[in-house]
């Protein structure tokens, strides 16, 4: 049990962060796409994420929370080392989060400003998250090469969010905005693909251990499904988005949305395989960083009870707000 609990908690943390990237990813993506839309469309776009964003954002609190609960030593090192991007991300999340309410409540003369701040907040948060991811993969060592790598990820992660956001909009909107979203998704595809490729190339380059883990037989063959599934999902996404407007309107938008979701899941699996059992690459394993067993056991009880409940009412909320968002009014 003592050796197993850290594995369980690192899995929960990974799941929470993966869910965050997918769920708040589409929220942030919608925020990033906001300046491209007309004022009326902006309202629909924000209505499409309005009932969900708050709970979506909570997954990062759980992810960071589990890091803190289960791996307190790593929590301190990682967050102190990522102080600047974490602060930028938090400022971004603040602006984005409050803009939801202020843009409709502060009066029409202020609405344009809050729409802009909504975009700025989403941009700050998503680039800072890319920067944090880049620093984390490169072992939190602030060399010049690592900085360049982190900046590249900081530019590519928002593209992934744009794809997620645009395909979410295709689920939630109709007609003109739906078709616009398809165009936005397609335009974001190549920067996203470049980002994925960069991470895939850089991780083995950065760490010999990771390179050995991937490029050895028979592991290499066993791992092939991960890149293959990613490539298939990416190609399928490209094919679907290249359809004519008439065909697109007939396409099930959930199929489109699932493509970037599969890419996120595959990226997470690949990353998890590369890093495990380290919590800070090359410095600290999950067992070295783990909290005391008494703390892990106590928290585990809460997780076993609460997490299924969270899933149940999250699904309930998504069912209540299923369908197109156009009619969702709220002031």
């Amino acid at each position: 049990m003592e050796a197993l609990l850290p594995i369980i908690f690192v899995a929960i943390m990974g799941l929470a962060l993966l869910l965050y990237v997918i769920l708040d990813g589409y929220d942030l993506g919608v925020g990033l796409l906001l300046p491209l839309a007309s004022d009326k469309e902006k309202d629909v776009m924000i209505a499409s994420i309005g009932p969900f964003w708050d709970a979506n954002e909570t997954w990062i609190v759980l992810g960071v929370g589990v890091l803190l609960i289960a791996f307190p030593a790593a929590h301190g090192i990682i967050l102190t080392s990522l102080y600047v991007p974490a602060t930028v991300m938090l400022l971004g999340l603040i602006l984005r989060g409050v803009a939801f309410d202020f843009r409709v409540k502060a009066g029409s003369h202020r609405k344009a400003m809050w729409n802009q701040l909504f975009f700025v907040g989403s941009l700050l948060a998503s680039t800072a998250q890319g920067w944090m991811l880049g620093s984390y993969i490169t072992g939190l060592e602030h060399t010049q090469l690592n900085m360049v790598f982190s900046i590249l990820i900081a530019l590519c992660l928002p593209a992934l969010y744009c794809v997620l956001g645009a395909s979410w909009l295709m689920i939630k909107t109709e007609d003109e905005l739906f078709l616009k979203a398809a165009v936005w998704a397609k335009k974001s595809l190549s920067p996203m693909a470049v980002g994925l490729l960069l991470v895939s190339i850089a991780t083995p380059l950065v760490s010999q251990v990771i390179a050995d883990r991937w490029f050895q037989l028979p592991q290499f063959i066993g791992l092939l499904p991960i890149p293959i599934a990613s490539v298939i999902a990416l190609s399928l996404l490209y094919v679907l988005l290249s359809r004519t407007p008439e065909q697109l309107l007939m396409t099930n938008p959930w199929m489109i949305f699932m493509c970037p979701v599969i890419i996120c899941v595959m990226a997470a699996l690949g990353l998890a395989y590369s890093i495990f059992p380290d919590i800070i690459i090359g410095q600290l394993t999950i067992w070295e960083a783990a909290a005391h067993t008494s703390s892990l056991k106590f928290t585990f009880v809460g997780v076993v009870i609460a997490l299924p409940c969270i899933f149940v009412y999250t699904i309930f909320v998504y069912r209540v707000f299923s369908g197109k968002a156009s009619e969702l009014t709220y002031d």
């Binding site: 309005g50 009932p51 969900f52 708050d54 709970a55 954002e57 909570t58 990062i60 609190v61 759980l62 960071v64 929370g65 589990v66 890091l67 803190l68 609960i69 289960a70 307190p72 030593a73 929590h75 301190g76 090192i77 967050l79 102190t80 102080y83 600047v84 974490a86 602060t87 938090l90 400022l91 999340l93 603040i94 602006l95 984005r96 989060g97 409050v98 309410d101 202020f102 409540k105 502060a106 009066g107 909290a291 005391h292 008494s294 703390s295 928290t299 809460g302 997780v303 609460a306 997490l307 969270i310 009412y313 999250t314 909320v317 209540v320 707000f321 969702l328 009014t329 709220y330 002031d331």
Partner: protein, 451 residues
């Protein structure tokens, strides 16, 4: 000037948590008002309750959003600014925060969506349930975070292993000696803050003539609640103070400005504490009162600060903050009682009375912040009382980095506070609309809209 990173880290943390706490304080209390409005609407079917709910749920949503985003900052700040705290006390602090996320954050965030947007998508019963879940979530959140804070004030149920704290008995950790008092004191503080906000904004709406139906009734409910809650808070505060005297006598000595241990200690109403000369200048004293209040005995012994040299908090901020809190509390009692007497005699509040209430809209904030400064500065120099010193757990960031982040936070918070208050009054100046979006009839407005 050489800036101390420790001081900067403390200022930044104080700024973040002070700004954060403003909003949950309102939502925790307001959630129960919304629930009350919903229940009344369900019981009576009277549209007036619908109008009231439709207005206040917007205020709730705005306040809640500010609470959420500033709360996320808190969850990161433990690691970014106080990594040593998590390394040494993480085995206890971590799970308590974890339970807050698992039981409260998801609950309130998920059901908030239904509460705000789901009125026409779910049945009245489900909507009522969603409103209750949000209220429950906000209170659960307070439960866990106050448990952790109380444990830092009065640690219990722990043991040391390899130099770090671990829990020996979780029930003793959660229900540590000061938890019950602190939870009650804070929960009532949240209700009072919400009550004065509701009263102040309703008064503003009446003055502007946009109240719509029911505003006078809501104002009356708020004032009567305030008249009951404020003296209740004095009683709870007294119990909490006695508990503090038992566990943190140095904090109480700083609150009262008592330097030497003495029997029959006088109560200092006001004065200027001087830590270097270890005396209080210009002290205005009431003989034996401090002993009476603290020990409930005219000749009871009260420990003085000189018994804790080097181990007691900075005196002046604790001393002054305590007086601000108590003074604000007395003012709230006065206003709520005078207004209640008038209302109970069957008279309406006139312009002056309404203006006073508008002025008191954020009275709760002042008292809550002052109270938290008393208890948090009063815990210094410890982060976990008697076990871990604050200075030992701070992160070693460059002062420049801290100054930059601190400046960014100050700017954004100032901007948000101005936006929040101005938006609140802007919203309150608009005529009432029901949830269905229909405006209130002219007739109702002129009649003052009695329910």
């Amino acid at each position: 000037m050489e800036l101390d990173p420790f001081l900067l880290a403390r200022i930044q943390f104080a700024l973040n948590i002070s700004f954060h706490i403003l909003f949950p304080t309102i939502t925790i209390g307001l959630a129960y008002f919304l629930l009350f409005f919903r229940i009344r609407y369900t019981q009576t079917g009277d549209d007036h309750w619908d109008y009231i709910y439709a207005f206040w749920v917007k205020v709730f949503a705005l306040t809640f959003a500010l609470g959420v985003v500033t709360g996320i900052v808190m969850s990161f700040q433990f690691g970014t600014n106080w990594p040593g705290f998590m390394e040494q006390a993480g085995n206890i602090a971590g799970p308590l925060l974890g339970y807050e996320v698992l039981t409260a954050f998801f609950l309130e965030a998920s059901f908030l969506g239904i509460m705000l947007f789901g009125r026409r998508r779910v049945s009245n019963r489900v909507h009522l349930l969603a409103t209750s879940m949000v209220a429950l979530g906000t209170s659960l959140s307070a439960f866990w975070i106050l448990s952790l804070n109380s444990w830092m004030q009065t640690p219990a149920g722990y043991t040391f292993e390899n130099g770090v704290l671990i829990a020996e008995n979780w029930l003793a950790v959660i229900f540590n000696p000061s938890f019950g008092y602190r939870l009650a004191h804070m929960f009532v503080a949240c209700l009072i803050t919400a009550v004065f906000l509701v009263a102040g904004v309703s008064a503003w709406r009446l003055l502007k003539g946009v109240g719509g139906p029911g505003t006078r009734s809501v104002l009356k409910v708020a004032i009567l609640c305030a008249a009951v809650l404020t003296p209740t808070q004095v009683f709870i505060g007294d119990l909490h103070g006695l508990n503090t005297l038992e566990h943190q006598p140095a904090k109480v000595a700083a609150m009262e400005g008592i330097w030497d241990t003495q029997s029959g200690a006088a109560l200092t109403l006001f004065g200027i504490p001087d830590e270097e000369q270890r005396t209080t200048h210009y002290a205005l004293k009431v003989p034996k009162m401090a002993s009476l209040i603290l020990t409930h005995d005219l000749d009871g012994e009260v420990k003085g600060l000189n018994d804790f040299v080097g181990e007691h908090p900075p005196v002046a901020p604790v001393f002054f903050a305590f007086r601000v809190m108590v003074g604000m509390g007395l003012l709230m009692i006065l206003v709520s009682w005078l207004s209640s007497i008038k209302l109970l005699r069957g008279r309406e509040l006139e312009t002056t009375g309404l203006r006073v209430l508008v002025g008191m809209t954020f009275a709760g904030w002042v008292a809550v912040l002052a109270g938290w400064y008393v208890t948090e500065i009063g815990r210094q120099p410890w982060v976990v009382n008697g076990l871990i010193r604050t200075a030992d757990v701070v992160a070693d960031h460059e002062p420049q980095v801290l100054i930059a982040s601190l400046t960014a936070y100050v700017l954004i918070y100032a901007f948000l506070l101005v936006s929040y208050i101005s938006t609140l009054f802007y919203m309150s100046s608009k005529p009432a609309l029901s949830l269905k979006g229909t405006p209130v009839h002219e007739y109702d407005l002129q009649s003052g809209g009695r329910i």
